[in-house]
Amino acid sequence: MSAPVPMTVVTGFLGSGKTTLIANLLRRPELSRTAVIINEFGEIGLDHELIESSEEDLVELSTGCLCCVMRGDLTNAVHRLMEKRGEGRPFERIVLETTGLADPAPIVHAAIADPALRALVSLDRVAVTVDALTGIASLEAHEESRRQIALADVLLLTKTDVDDSGVAALRDRIAAVNPDADILFPVRGEIDPVVIIGGATASLGGRRKARVPDENTGSLDHDHLDHAHGHGSDEITSVSLRLDKPLQAVALTLFLQALAETMGPDLLRLKGIVEVAEAPDTPAVVHGVQHVFHPMRWLDGWPGGARDSRLVMIGKGLSEPWVRALLDTIIEEVAEASGQ
C-alpha cells in the first residue's frame, strides 16, 4: 500500500475567501499536483466552478455539510481520487475545502482516527480564512466560526487590503480563541504555498517540525505564565500552562484522560511540548483534537535549547485555575502512589 497522501483542510466562515485562496494556490507550480475536494452546502454547487482544476482531480461533495455526513462521504471521495491516481493521474497532495458552516472537528477527527481514511490520507494542517471586515461579527454570532478558528494551525486574514482598520481588534479576538495559530495576510488569495504544503508550522499530522506554543506568553516575569482568555463558561477559551517541573509520564496520561473525560466534546484541542521526568532531554510533543490524540512524539532535543515545557488547551468553559488545580492534584496523587 502506498503512503498516505498529505491532506490540508481549508475552512473558514461563509464568504471569508476560501475558494479564492485555493484557486490562487493551485496556480502555483509547487501545488500543481494537488487534488481538491470541495464540500458545498446546498444542491447547487458553485465553488467548484471557481477553481480551475482538471475535473479528474476535483471531487465535489454536495450532499450536505461535510461535518454532518462526514466519514462515509469523505472516505468515498478520497477513494474516488485514489482510483484516478491509480489510472495515471498522480497527485501528491489533497486540499479539502469545507463549507463555511462546517465544524472542522469531525473532519479532523476522521482524518486522524478513522482507519479507512488514515490509510489513505495524513492530515497536514488546518488552514482557516477569516474575513477582516466581518470576522469579529462572525466570531460573536456564530459558534461555527469560533470552532473553526479554535482548530486552526494557520489563520489567514483576508480582505485586509480593502480595510485593515479592524485588524488589531480582530487579532485580539482571535488570540482569545486560539493564541497558538500563525496569522498570515493573503491579498486576493495570494499567499506563499508554504501554508499549504508545510514548512514552519506544525499541526496534527506529525510530520512537521514541532512547534512550541510560544504566543500568549507576554507575562514572562511572573511565576507560572498561565493565561486564560475568554468571556464566560459558554465561550471557547484557551489556556496556556507552563510547567515548571518535569511531569511523570503517568501523570501526563492521567491528566489528558481526566481533562478529556470531564470536558467531553467541549475540549476542542490540546497541544504542547512537555518535559517528561523519565526522559527530560527528549521533550514529548502532545497533539489532540477533542479526545483523540496522536501517540506522543519525542524530539531529539528542546527547540532553541530552552527547556520550556507547556500545554495549550482550547475549549469551552476552560479556566486556568481549574486546569492548574486538576494537574497539580494528579501530580500529587501520582507522587503519593509512587511513594515520593
Binding site: 492521567l254 470531564t262 470536558m263 486546569v323
Partner: protein, 98 residues
C-alpha cells in the same frame, strides 16, 4: 491538597459542566456540599485514610463512594450532577495507517 485548590477544582469542574448550584465549602478542609435544583445533590471530600488519601462522594440515600483518584471522583460526581453529559475517553491513534 489545600482547601484553596480543592475549591478551585470543584468550582471549575461545575463551571465546565454548567451545573448551576450552591457550593458550601468547609473552611479548613477539602470538603464541599453541593445543592442544585433545590435539593441536596452530593458532598465531596478528600480525606486521609490509613491506606492513603481518598475521595469520598456522598449522595443522599445512597452508599458512599470512595475513589483513589481525582479522575474517578469527578466521574462519580458527574454521574450524580449531570448524567446526561457527554464524556470523552482518550483515544491514542497511530499515524499513517490503521
Amino acid at each position: 491538597m489545600t482547601p484553596e485548590r480543592f475549591r478551585l477544582l470543584i468550582e471549575g469542574t461545575l463551571a465546565v459542566w454548567r451545573v448551576e448550584g450552591s457550593l458550601s465549602f468547609k473552611d479548613d478542609e477539602a470538603s464541599c456540599h453541593i445543592t442544585a435544583e433545590g435539593r441536596d445533590m452530593a458532598t465531596v471530600s478528600r480525606e486521609v485514610q490509613p491506606f492513603g488519601t481518598v475521595w469520598r462522594i456522598q449522595e443522599p440515600g445512597r452508599r458512599d463512594r470512595v475513589h483513589p483518584s481525582v479522575g474517578a471522583a469527578l466521574r462519580s460526581l458527574r454521574e450524580i450532577l449531570c448524567p446526561e453529559r457527554s464524556t470523552g475517553r482518550v483515544l491514542f491513534v497511530s499515524e499513517g495507517g490503521p
